[in-house]
């Protein structure tokens, strides 16, 4: 999913410190070997408790977080990944979370996004894609895949013509945000979205971040219902 992650602005900043959280050691080592040189893996964890410990210890820039993580005391209906963010997110303001999911069903990821992750990427993505997404998240951007953009359009009723009247409305998207989401859903990278809409890449990123914020804060029925109904994955 290069489209998901072309958000990286191509400036490899000073190396990004990353903690990888996944319950499969094969996957962790595979991913570790595949990441760019600009990314330094400073910790690994395999369940909720060890993840909390590792993140608190290492204080990384980005946590690559498996959505489906085993752990003690994870409330039913919540995923382990979301639980990790809930436990450490508020005490580590400098750390950003990028969700990793084996599934590209956006519904599965909504829970972890709503808990505070800055985006998600599927586990099938190549090391380069993951690296770009990590850089983007480290730079403060949100990472949206076409699937997630489609889900957002659906959940916010964009297809049936619901448009936010005021810019601070949480339960609907503004016309511009819808345009941006549509283009991302059509497979456009951020800079292509920018060219298409005659705006700057920075503005695209602002819109995407605004959508992410709405996704996290909105109490729209569809969002909570979807997240609850898809308990299994």
């Amino acid at each position: 999913m290069a489209d998901a992650s072309d958000a990286g602005r191509g400036v490899p900043a000073a190396s990004v410190r990353v903690v990888i959280v996944d319950d499969h050691s094969i996957f962790r080592s595979g991913l570790k070997a595949d990441l760019d040189a600009s990314i330094e893996v400073v910790g690994e964890a395999h369940d909720v408790e060890s993840a909390v410990a590792a993140v608190t210890d290492a204080a990384p820039d980005v946590v690559l977080l498996d959505v489906h993580l085993p752990g003690v005391g994870v409330p039913s209906g919540a995923s382990g990944g979301a639980e990790v963010i809930r436990r450490v997110g508020s005490s580590m303001p400098g750390t950003r979370f990028l969700a990793l999911s084996v599934s590209d069903k956006a519904e599965d990821v909504v829970g972890v996004i709503r808990a505070g992750a800055r985006g998600y990427i599927t586990k099938g993505s190549s090391g380069a894609d993951v690296s770009r997404a990590v850089q983007a998240v480290a730079g403060g951007d949100a990472v949206f895949s076409p699937k997630l953009a489609g889900f957002v359009l659906d959940a916010f009723g964009a297809a049936v013509g619901e448009t936010a009247a005021a810019s601070d409305e949480l339960d609907r998207l503004s016309a511009r945000e819808q345009e941006v989401m549509r283009l991302i859903a059509r497979g456009y990278a951020y800079k292509e979205v920018a060219a298409e809409l005659f705006i700057s890449t920075k503005t695209v990123e602002t819109h995407v971040s605004a959508v992410l914020r709405k996704l996290q804060l909105s109490s729209r029925y569809e969002l909570t219902a979807w997240a609850n109904a898809r308990r299994l994955l």
Binding site: V102, G127, G150, E192, L232
Partner: protein, 389 residues
């Protein structure tokens, strides 16, 4: 021999008359006459009832005769008869006792039979339904309760306590049996429910297990092998199949536009070095067999064949329009450069959309990379198309 679905009581006589070519009345009289010969006709009737299939068809069998009510009436008559006979029994007619006992038992049996008929046979009949069932039950219950009370406090009980007690017991048990069909049905439902739940639990257990093992491995394979390599494509197809099987369950996929294009994308991914992302937004009312779907499939095939790599398909259904975007990152082409004898794009995409009343457009992708095909179809045309096809 078959029984007609619209019948009087069971359809046996009508079916037999049809089979033999006799008038129905003759068949009925023959059954009645042979029943007098030690019940032979009745046995044959019941045997035929149990073994003869319904006439082929979809509608539920309907019965003109109110059989359950007739059974209630017969039961009442039988019990009244017993009451009459009881006067002779009290006069000292010892032989009358057997008749009396037989009549009481027959009355109880007929009341139970009316309940069973209402509960098992009449229940699926749309003409009768639960209200009818309840009325029959209440009548049979009242009849049996009155009988039991009359027996216990009647005069026969003083003279012959043991047979009277047995008959009263039969009446009380009969009340229970009147409600048996409900219990049987409820128990059957419960058993079905339990089986279903166990299957569901088993499935989600298997799903959780496979999710933690096989799906992770398939993801890792895709990750290591590079997105458009053969191995990754096979792993992706495998993952999709497994996921569909695990999480969609037995429900057949409905053939709307989104589902159809997803399936088509999966098939293309196996044949061509391409990964296709299909994103669907909105409720799709467009059918998979429609012109939009055909044009979209053509566009996807073009993208897979000529561009490869990553292809994005986006379907949005709003109340006014259905839009499909197919975007690839291949070398791209100018429509004007395509020789006139190449019909693919002109005919099967743009021409097809125009003929169906929509519009199609092929242009360079954003930033001059690849090609984007855009199909648009007004929603009000969908109804017309569905009506035609």
């Amino acid at each position: 021999m078959i029984r007609p679905r619209a019948c009087v009581a069971t359809g046996v006589a009508a079916g037999m008359a049809e089979h033999l070519g006799w008038p129905v009345t003759v068949v009925r009289l023959a059954f009645a006459a042979t029943s007098l010969a030690a019940g032979a006709g009745l046995l044959l009737y019941v045997w035929l009832w149990a073994l003869t299939p319904w006439a082929p068809g979809d509608e539920r069998p309907t019965r003109r005769a109110p059989v359950a009510w007739l059974l209630v009436v017969a039961s009442t008559l039988s019990l009244l008869g017993a009451w009459v006979v009881s006067a002779w029994v009290l006069d000292g007619d010892e032989g009358g006792l057997r008749w009396w006992f037989g009549a009481v038992l027959a009355g109880v049996g007929l009341a139970v039979a009316s309940g069973a008929w209402a509960g098992f046979v009449d229940r699926p009949d749309p003409e009768r339904g639960p209200r009818h069932e309840l009325a029959i039950r209440l009548s049979a219950t009242a009849l049996l309760a009155i009988t039991a009370v009359a027996l216990v406090f009647g005069d026969v009980a003083h003279e012959y306590p043991v047979p009277t007690f047995a008959a009263a017991l039969a009446a009380v048990l009969g009340i229970g049996l009147v409600y048996a069909p409900t219990l049987v049905t409820a128990w059957r439902d419960l058993a079905d429910e339990r089986t279903k739940r166990i299957r569901e639990e088993q499935r989600s257990e298997i799903a959780a297990h496979l999710h933690d093992s096989v799906l992770q491995t398939l993801a890792l394979i895709q990750n290591r092998a590079g997105a458009s390599s053969e191995v990754a494509r096979i792993a992706r197809a495998q993952e999709r199949e497994l996921r569909d099987w695990l999480f969609d369950g037995d429900t057949p996929a409905d053939s709307d536009l989104g589902t159809d294009l997803r399936d088509f994308a999966a098939a293309l991914e196996i044949d061509y070095p391409v990964t296709i992302d299909v994103v669907v937004v909105g409720e799709s009312r467009e059918r998979a067999s429609g012109e939009v779907a055909a044009a979209a499939r053509e566009a996807m095939l073009n993208a897979a064949r000529h561009a490869g790599g990553e292809v994005s398909v986006y379907v949005e259904s709003s109340p006014e329009t259905v839009e499909v975007f197919v975007r690839d990152r291949g070398e791209g082409f100018e429509l004007g450069d395509v020789p006139g004898d190449r019909l693919g794009v002109r005919q099967s995409i743009i021409g097809r959309m125009r003929r169906a009343g929509g519009s199609g457009e092929v242009r360079r992708g954003a930033g001059g990379i690849g090609t984007e095909v855009r199909l648009r179809f007004p929603a009000e045309r969908l109804g017309a198309e569905a009506g035609r096809g």
